[in-house]
């Protein structure tokens, strides 16, 4: 947090920052940054990088809109949001290629983990249809976990649990 504050004050000395420190170890710190009445909230929790949101909005208890690794990138994002009075929003669905790029994983690295050729990864990213198991492998190779959720018009949303290979009901 100290590093972030130092870097922000160098980049944008006219911004005012209020620090709402966590009282428990491992809990979120909130840094409320204001420039000409445009506010950006930065959340920090040990091991979670920086969470950045410019839109407080009505969402009680909502997490940060964007999560950014590293002090320099986080400060650059905050400066951009403040100077251009931009707003962040709830993350939207992404194409697989963009998700991989956002996670900082190259096609070559993904291909190595999946033990396939790089051109297979490229083809996979252009596909409109997937086996659930293939998609799960790709997400897990990026360090994530695949969840598939069914949403219904009455507001009910349920995650689907797939039967394990060879398991009988």
């Amino acid at each position: 947090v100290r590093g972030f504050l130092r870097a922000l004050s160098r980049a944008l000395p006219e911004a005012s920052v209020s620090v709402d420190a966590a009282e428990k170890v491992g809990a979120d710190w909130f840094l409320d940054v204001d420039l000409n009445h445009h506010r950006v909230t930065v959340q920090w929790r040990a091991g979670k990088s920086f969470g950045i949101s410019s839109e407080s909005g009505p969402g009680l208890g909502e997490g940060p809109h964007e999560v950014i690794d590293g002090v320099a990138a986080a400060v650059a994002k905050v400066v951009d949001l403040l100077l251009h009075r931009r707003r962040t929003t709830v993350p939207k669905p992404l194409p697989l290629r963009q998700l991989r790029q956002q996670r900082g994983v190259s096609q070559a690295a993904l291909a190595r983990v999946l033990r396939v050729q790089q051109c297979s990864v490229s083809k996979q990213e252009s596909r409109g249809d997937f086996l659930v198991s293939s998609l799960r492998s790709v997400i897990e190779a990026m360090g994530g976990r695949l969840r598939i959720v069914a949403s219904f018009p009455d507001g009910v949303a349920r995650e689907i649990a797939f039967a394990k290979k060879g398991a009988k009901e």
Binding site: D28, G51, S56, G59, L60, E62, G63, V90, F152, V156
Partner: protein, 140 residues
């Protein structure tokens, strides 16, 4: 500071859910203690979001999934000069809860007690939370 059409629709939908949460919270019997008040907040908000958000309950996610979540217990902060009140901070709000079960929800601001009051509920003793703005020394 323009919102996209999609962003605006999301904001309106969430505002409706928040209003429904406030409506149900206000209609519930008052709480006898801070612990009871926190349980009431959690149960009421989770019920509203289960019914209306269309987003599954995943409180372990740090990044926003578009669902509203009750205050996390580790977000608790003490309120200077008010030992009988605690504050729970989230990105856009401060939830103040009294030992008597009274609740006050404010939009996040600096200082925290200066934000616009969005919701207020008395405790079971019929009393609201005390005035929390910083003491100016004016005793008149």
């Amino acid at each position: 500071m323009l919102h996209s059409a999609e962003g605006m629709a999301d904001r309106i939908h969430k505002q409706r859910r928040l209003s429904e949460f406030f409506r149900r919270l206000l209609a519930s019997p008052p709480s006898n203690s801070g612990t009871e008040a926190m349980k009431l907040i959690s149960d009421t908000l989770n019920a509203v979001e289960d019914e209306l958000s269309g987003v599954p309950f995943h409180p372990d996610l740090w990044q926003s999934d578009g669902r509203m979540y009750p205050p996390r217990s580790d977000s608790k902060r003490s309120v200077p000069g008010h030992a009988d009140v605690v504050r729970f901070r989230s990105r856009g709000h401060n939830v103040f809860v009294g030992r008597n079960g009274a609740i006050r929800i404010l939009a996040a601001a600096t200082p925290p007690e200066s934000g616009p009051v969005l919701f207020e509920k008395l405790g079971a003793d019929g009393r609201p939370l005390p005035r929390l703005t910083k003491d100016t020394g004016d005793r008149s």
